[in-house]
């Protein structure tokens, strides 16, 4: 096929992503002239309808933004509210939140890596087609996912849209023996996560790297979930409250989701690659070893290897869950309380797809006067487009159908959650 010809690749509805969006790519004479990640899922106006609601409602309302990562929304919103109220949630309550978040990471990462992204690498249309030749991979993923589901159900009150998180802690905390029942399943899950990583390590990864600005949380001791400073590999080192001074959201006509950019440096990258590359030294040595054995260096700039990093983080989450279960002693009270007061609070935690930023302004009665939510997929949109600007020219010799497939795979490197971003996929490659 002549690379000189102009082509259009158009995917009207991207499969195996959460929500509704498409992709349009135009090329002319071997150069890419247009890349648009088109997000047409209607905007959902969460920030507007939060206004006037009580601060206590934010965790349950925002959890409904996403069926895949409701815990992330709960964690960022309660953190912001607790900042306004001057509450410190520590000890066993902090431990339980971290454990709940581990459950969500396992669920989300395993679903994406094994069921949605692996078929791209193995050449199948879907997990259903893949399961005929690779039943063990699918069974392994299903067992792991189930372990994550059980952790979320135990601490969150139920599997779908957990309801047990509240500002100040939880509505109900588990007895020690309830949590201990999860120890053995999580240990088994840890072994299975290692098997998953090993199974994915043999995949072929396109030779493709970019010099991203990675942005993630960094904690003095731990691999980050809920806390830490916001850092990057280009010198950013700020408190979460300074997020909006460094990043802004802009509207682009082809997307119902705002694009978030660094005010001076433009596109940046959040999610597993960023977290891992900025925090490799915070992973337990056994997890570091497993990552190295799978062929991953301490800094990963190939977005296609995100599937491996998700498996590494799944292994981490399983091991961390076992560690936290062993440390748990039930608190005296399931939550701490304070009177509402006027003020502004910020939340930023590591959702499976990357940092999730919340800001709320409360009035003296504790009603929400203003809400701002910046989900990870909004932050990655421009980086996804930039990846395609670089990736497509290297592969213009491919026939349209194959090029389209590879572009979709490149988008899925980010596990984009369009439902979150519109609070926001279709592919069009146009070779003119």
């Amino acid at each position: 096929m002549s690379a000189k010809r102009s082509r259009t690749i158009q995917v009207d509805a991207l499969a195996r992503v959460e929500g509704e969006g498409g992709l349009l790519i135009r090329t002319k004479g071997g150069a890419v002239t247009q890349v648009q990640l088109r997000i047409y899922e209607p905007p959902r106006f969460f920030e507007a309808f939060l206004r006037g609601r009580r601060y206590t409602e934010a965790p349950d309302l925002t959890a409904r933004i996403c069926g895949i990562c409701p815990v992330a929304y709960q964690m960022s919103s309660v953190q912001a509210m607790e900042e306004v109220l001057g509450l410190t949630v520590d000890g066993p309550l902090r431990l339980l939140r971290r454990l709940l978040y581990c459950g969500e990471w396992i669920e989300s990462h395993v679903l994406h890596a094994a069921m949605l992204h692996a078929p791209d690498f193995l050449g199948y249309e879907s997990a259903v087609h893949m399961s005929k030749d690779h039943p063990e991979l699918v069974r392994l993923a299903l067992r792991l996912k189930k372990a994550g589901n059980e952790l979320v159900a135990l601490l969150g009150g139920r599997e779908i849209h957990p309801v047990n998180v509240r500002v100040g802690g939880f509505y109900r905390v588990p007895a020690k023996r309830e949590l201990l029942r999860m120890r053995e399943p999580m240990q088994v899950a840890s072994d299975e996560a290692l098997s998953l990583l090993q199974a994915l390590a043999v995949l072929e990864f396109p030779a493709f790297e970019r010099d991203y600005e990675f942005v993630a949380l960094r904690h003095p001791e731990e691999y980050p979930l809920c806390e830490g400073r916001l850092v990057s590999n280009q010198g950013l080192d700020i408190e979460r409250s300074e997020f909006e001074r460094h990043f802004r959201e802009e509207h682009v006509p082809h997307s119902n989701a705002l694009h978030s950019v660094h005010r001076d440096r433009g596109a940046y990258h959040v999610g597993p690659l960023a977290r891992y590359s900025l925090n490799f030294d915070r992973l337990p040595s056994l997890v570091q070893e497993a990552a190295r054995a799978a062929g991953l260096p301490p800094v990963v700039r190939n977005p296609f290897q995100s599937i491996l990093v998700r498996a590494v983080e799944t292994l981490f989450a399983c091991d961390e869950a076992v560690r936290l279960i062993d440390l748990y002693e039930p608190p005296d009270r399931p939550f701490v309380e304070a009177e509402p007061r006027a003020g502004v609070g910020h939340g930023c935690t590591e959702a499976p797809r990357g940092i999730l930023y919340h800001r709320y302004r409360l009035d003296a009665e504790g009603l929400i006067a203003e809400a701002r939510i910046v989900p990870p997929t909004s932050q990655n949109q421009k980086t996804i487009e930039n990846d395609l600007w670089s990736f497509v020219p290297q592969h213009l010799d491919l026939p349209d159908a194959e090029l389209e497939r590879r572009c979709e795979q490149a988008v899925r490197n980010y596990d984009p959650c369009i439902s979150c971003a519109t609070h926001f996929l279709k592919l069009t490659v146009d070779r003119e």
């Binding site: 509805a13 991207l14 499969a15 195996r16 992503v17 959460e18 929500g19 069926g67 895949i68 679903l111 069921m115 949605l116 879907s126 997990a127 259903v128 399961s131 005929k132 039943p135 699918v138 069974r139 993923a141 299903l142 996912k145 189930k146 589901n149 599997e159 779908i160 439902s419």
Partner: protein, 157 residues
């Protein structure tokens, strides 16, 4: 665990998409013997977990169609061709795909009966439309009869 599973699939907060869970809710008021009742949002791994080890599955779901309130009865085999459809939400593979995956993993459920109720509106925030609310009462009776048939089949076996 009962060998027969009744699965109500759908989102009660999206208009007629709640038909499946609404039928299950009605069954729960006078729980039938010999069957487990489960709600599902269609998420594939949880669907597969629910299907595991069942001999018979009765699936109640809403459907897109030209005649709101119409009740379609399908067998598992008739659902098969639907696996080629791309599901609306792709993180959830869809019920047909979940059943296909269950089969492909070598533990197929032999006896799958599907009751699909054609909906009028699937708008978020709405409840059931009147025509679908009437249909779910008929489906409840049909499912009770089906559960009884399954119970006898299990007993005979």
């Amino acid at each position: 665990m009962n060998p027969t599973l009744v699965l109500g699939v759908g989102n009660p907060d999206c208009g007629d998409d709640g038909a499946g869970p609404a039928v299950v809710a009605r069954l729960r008021r006078r729980a039938p013997r010999g069957a487990d009742l489960v709600d599902s949002d269609g998420e594939v791994t949880r669907l597969l977990a629910a299907l595991d080890g069942r001999e018979r599955v009765i699936l109640v779901d809403a459907a897109l169609g030209a005649t709101p309130g119409r009740i379609l009865r399908l067998s598992g085999a008739e659902l098969g061709p639907l696996t080629v459809l791309r599901a609306g939400s792709t993180h959830a593979l869809g019920v047909a795909q979940a059943l296909a995956l269950h089969g492909a993993l070598g533990r197929p459920t032999a006896d799958v009966r599907v009751f699909a109720i054609e909906g009028r509106s699937f708008r978020p925030g709405d409840g059931l439309s009147p025509v679908v609310a009437r249909a779910i009462r008929r489906v409840e009776r049909m499912v009770r009869a089906e559960i009884e048939r399954c119970r006898k089949a299990t007993k005979a076996a």
